[in-house]
Point group: D2
């Protein structure tokens, strides 16, 4: 289990004066899909934080192919790759009317409550392999 | 000392497809002015929180008279009224090219770290009277 | 037809360092519910704009009773009142776990493409009465 | 003239429940610095749009080294590279207390009002070489 497709309806507030979704909004869409993915993996993000595991974003990249517009229904596909060391990478493709409009990725650092990098816990790795 | 005028340059990301600043942005401008006001009152908000005093917004109101646009320089006037009981009210007027374009207010509850309402501390009242 | 209940899952990006949804986010939730309401009324907002009818917010008010937190599922109830003159008022109650946590309202001005106030079109009034 | 350093004070609304600036905010800081850079280059972005020249972001990347926090004053350095074909790249470094905390880049497509890619106009290239 390492993949999800999450639907989002574009909000008016997310548009800019070019009449399209502002580019800073897509990282928030990535995050919403990532949160749903982790819920589906039985690793809900709010419980991880309560257990003292944080996953701050240390790298972000996005390619904007076509714009989404107000009212569009977009599908955010998120795929989590196997963690490497203290890091995990998630890749995203956003579709609108069947077409890929944005591609991106985030890299996260497994971080303990003391703010130091840590190995991914076993329950995390197990959830990914299920 | 209970008043400030704080200048803000409208960001592109703050516009919407109507070509104007989205109405949900002005409460953020109110907040930016409020933070500067409290800094000027020698009550910097981050230090209040470290001391265990929080000021969550419990009421918000805004009247939108004219729109601001990308690149506009707006002046946010914020005036803190004397606290009443466990609450304090701040009133705002946003000016653009000398004209009032938005008027608003926020009401805040003095809240202790245990999440309960509390009386405004003496240092807060003294700062307001200076 | 003048009422809807719209579900929203709180995003991580919508929280602030108090660990709760930032107060400026609720007007965006109001808007999302309003957009769904108008879709249900067969008055989709994007088509109204294409027809040259705009509904800028001219007044906003909100009372914050309890905070919502990351991951919460909130239900935004929106009720459109009968237009009065060139204005229409929508009232909102946000529920979380069955409890009302935010109440608010927006007032909108019917505005033509020339940026002047106008009477609500008949198709708008008819949709509201259906 | 192809470089600027632009100061930004972190807003409360820009923090998240980790107590740090949410990662989706930095692209907005990049944009604010880019806008100031273009103003300084005598290419104010709002006037470019009025002339029918748009510069949508087609690529974004960011590396998050250290977090910024509420109230921090950050300095956003933006450097515009010479356009290549129909694209221009801008690189950013955000400093907080003298330390680089975020590095990033955006790539923009010169786009005409008809929504098609176009060569950068001479006045743009001249401004960059001055």
């Amino acid at each position: 289990m390492n993949k999800i497709v999450h639907e989002i309806i574009v909000r008016y507030a997310e548009t800019d004066q070019m009449g399209i979704v502002h580019h800073s909004v897509y990282p928030v869409y990535f995050e919403a899909a990532r949160v749903e993915l982790m819920k589906k993996m039985a690793l809900p993000y709010d419980e991880l934080e309560k257990k003292g595991l944080f996953l701050p974003v240390i790298e972000l990249a996005a390619n904007y192919i076509k714009p989404a517009r107000f009212g569009d229904s977009v599908e955010v596909e998120a795929v989590m790759l196997p963690p490497v060391g203290v890091r995990v990478r998630i890749e995203y493709t956003i579709y609108c009317r069947g077409e890929a409009i944005v591609k991106g990725l985030t890299v996260h650092a497994f971080t303990a409550a003391n703010n130091r990098p840590c190995r991914p816990p076993d329950y995390f790795l197990n959830a990914l392999q299920k």
